[in-house]
Symmetry: C2
Subunit: 430 residues, 2 copies
């Protein structure tokens, strides 16, 4: 049974706060293990990567076979049925078209004093994409990481994917092929992150590492941050559906189940102004779970972490949504636009009854790598800007430097940085 | 004596690589100490913050006096000479005017299929700004953090600044007053970062923490990343001057010294096509260092970490600049525009002979919080976007959902997520 809350009950605030604070991830402390792995890879390079891969992934690689050959990629991709290839191609093309609209423009101008000011955007040179192997191995995630990097203009994209017992989902390699990725290594875990960040003889280092992974991967990303850029520390997926009486309970139930089937801490919450919808959705979830092959896992997550909250108004729903700051927010309303402005913290917002979150996972065109665990309060989904950086441009003329010299030298003095002041005053009257 | 390199010498590549890898920061391992402090603040709140502050800062605060009163701020600010206040006001106004041009625009559109797609930007609700106390206590940094946050539309800005032995530079509080910051706590170190990230009875938690600090502050930021957003892990400052024969050796020398006077690992590098300029600059640095009150510290840094590199062409200089990926790059050339495009990795670029880096530290208008330690390969300087986040918008009509259903359901099948597929197919023919 999911949690049922009613915002008119006196204990609501306390119970809602508990829900917000619910621990959804087993926070394994793997800091020391990961530090040792990173140090080992920095010190011994390929030798360490090969040893660790063979041990953790029950594999049998050498430095010579760490990288997939072009033939291996092509033959794996060729195993993938043509309708799957076509679907991945459609996804790729739509993701690409949307992300092309995210490309930032340079902006350089001259102000009234004659000072040239501006921002110029350039791509990161080399990016490493981490793709999980095994259970949660998603070809769609290959596209969601690779396409914005390509659109940004990244020159080199290196992908790593662990192959437990030597196995890999061929659709992963098909997605890589469609995305134009040719540099793929059969490695994973902290050792893969370390290899990307510091480089080995076989794997040249990159400038930024993106992509989801388990606790070891997340910890390794946190530890190499600074040496390379990272995207975010991703947690379990989550959806918040805001619905009124116009919503179809079977559709809402299907969306809550789609999130819950991720397992491993995934969370589905319904907030509704309509108590009878709440009841109908709860019944529908139970019914639909019996129809689903992996229904047991989804039911476990729904029972443990799911919640249905009834509220007095849509404004109140928006207020709760901003406190939850969910990765995905569905507005299952006839008029979603009316509530859209009120939702300030969300990774992505899905409008109306015909936009199930899952369409955004694959072919909507927007990115499915989104901030989780309330980080939508401060973070954005993955996009083209994550693969670019902005350089400031500043240029003074002799006269604009003169005009700004006095306040600059004054502040330098207050900060006890006389050399700063001197570098300005030495240029005056020239 | 600074390092002298000549790109035509056979050992150049090896020596340049050594320069790139030179360790400039004593990487104290304070991980465990910081973890303990954060756990203590989470557990005991104000009590821990007060105890740690009194111990580490030799202070005598209580929970009631953690926050500066409006009177304390006003009277400290009133001690600041009027020319300093005017200079800070000029800096504020110019920083504000420039950052207003960084505000992103929402972009929502409907594609050919009828799918609504877009990006919407919103401000972070609450931000914590860390301002160092003691030696490197810079009022200009208050402005550089606070102004972009204000421009972004951040509703609440909380500032923390340690007051060792109870002392504070009044110009810090004057800058805060000019920037409109009224919530200021006299705390620092890892305990301040923990208080901002997790909140205490006196200090409500924020959503993001920005600003520079020592090893404890940097480590604390790394550890709370995820609970809150952070800006970057800042290292020692650095400048790279690219000059040809048109440069004035005395001016170039002054800029190299201005950087070196930061001490603590700051690095100044000159790359020039003109060997006689190289010699003249070296002589000038020696001469000017004798004129500077803090010349001894700057000389120490220049001798230990400074470098002068002669190259055969400006193209070659740009190539080295991209490998160094410096925080600041000065183009001391008659025609800086010609080289500008070739410099791809830099925090900020300063154009021509009349743009000393120091003008950008204070009143140029651009931000002086910039990526250090080669992180300009993947990171940008602080700006308005750091205080905002992007929400994706997706909306399907019945017909566009139908058009996209087949590829989406196909990919869901490959990913073994039948619930995802079902949430789409259940809506068809409705």
């Amino acid at each position: 049974m999911p949690l049922r809350l009613d915002s008119t009950q006196p204990d609501f605030e306390a119970r809602f706060t508990d829900l917000l604070g619910a621990k959804r991830e087993s926070s394994q402390d793997v800091n020391d293990t990961v530090s040792a792995i990173i140090a080992d890879v920095r010190h011994r390079g390929d030798e360490a990567v090969v040893e660790l891969t063979n041990r953790f992934d029950r594999a049998n690689v050498t430095a010579q076979t760490l990288r997939f050959t072009a033939d291996e990629i092509a033959s794996a991709a060729a195993q993938v049925p043509s309708n799957v290839r076509a679907a991945l191609q459609t996804a790729h093309d739509r993701i690409r078209a949307h992300h092309q609209k995210q490309k930032p423009e340079d902006h350089v101008y001259t102000d009234a004093l004659g000072v040239t000011l501006g921002s110029r955007w350039t791509a990161v040179d080399a990016v490493g994409i981490y793709v999980p192997g095994g259970l949660a191995s998603y070809p769609s995630s290959v596209l969601m990481n690779a396409v914005p990097a390509h659109v940004a203009g990244v020159g080199r994209i290196a992908m790593v994917v662990p192959t437990p017992s030597g196995e890999i989902n061929p659709a992963i390699l098909a997605a890589a092929e469609i995305a134009g990725i040719t540099e793929i290594y059969r490695i994973g875990g902290a050792q893969a992150v370390a290899a990307l960040a510091y480089g080995t003889a076989t794997i040249p280092r990159v400038d930024k590492v993106t992509g989801p992974g388990n606790a070891y991967v997340a910890t390794a990303k946190r530890q190499v941050f600074g040496q390379v850029g990272i995207d975010m520390i991703a947690g379990p997926s989550e959806v918040l559906v805001i619905a009124d009486g116009s919503a179809n309970p079977a559709w809402v139930a299907a969306d809550l189940i789609a999130q819950a089937e991720h397992g491993a801490g995934a969370q589905s919450i319904l907030v509704t102004t309509d108590a009878s919808l709440a009841d109908a959705v709860e019944t529908e979830v139970d019914r639909q779970l019996t129809l689903l092959p992996k229904g047991d896992m989804a039911r476990e997550g729904w029972d443990e972490l799911g919640a249905i909250i009834t509220v007095a108004s849509l404004d109140e729903a928006a207020g709760l949504a901003n406190r939850i700051a969910s990765e995905h927010v569905e507005l299952a309303l006839d008029d979603p636009q009316a509530l859209l402005r009120a939702i300030r913290h969300a990774g992505a917002i899905f409008l109306g009854h015909h936009t199930p979150e899952a369409i955004g996972d694959y072919v909507g065109g927007s990115n499915h790598v989104l901030p989780t665990a309330r980080s939508a309060r401060f973070a954005s989904g993955l996009g083209v800007l994550d693969f670019m950086k902005r350089t400031s441009i500043l240029g003074c003329t002799p006269s604009s430097l003169s005009a700004l010299a006095e306040p600059a030298v004054t502040i330098a003095g207050v900060e006890d940085l006389d050399g700063h002041g001197r570098s300005i005053s030495i240029r005056l009257n020239h």
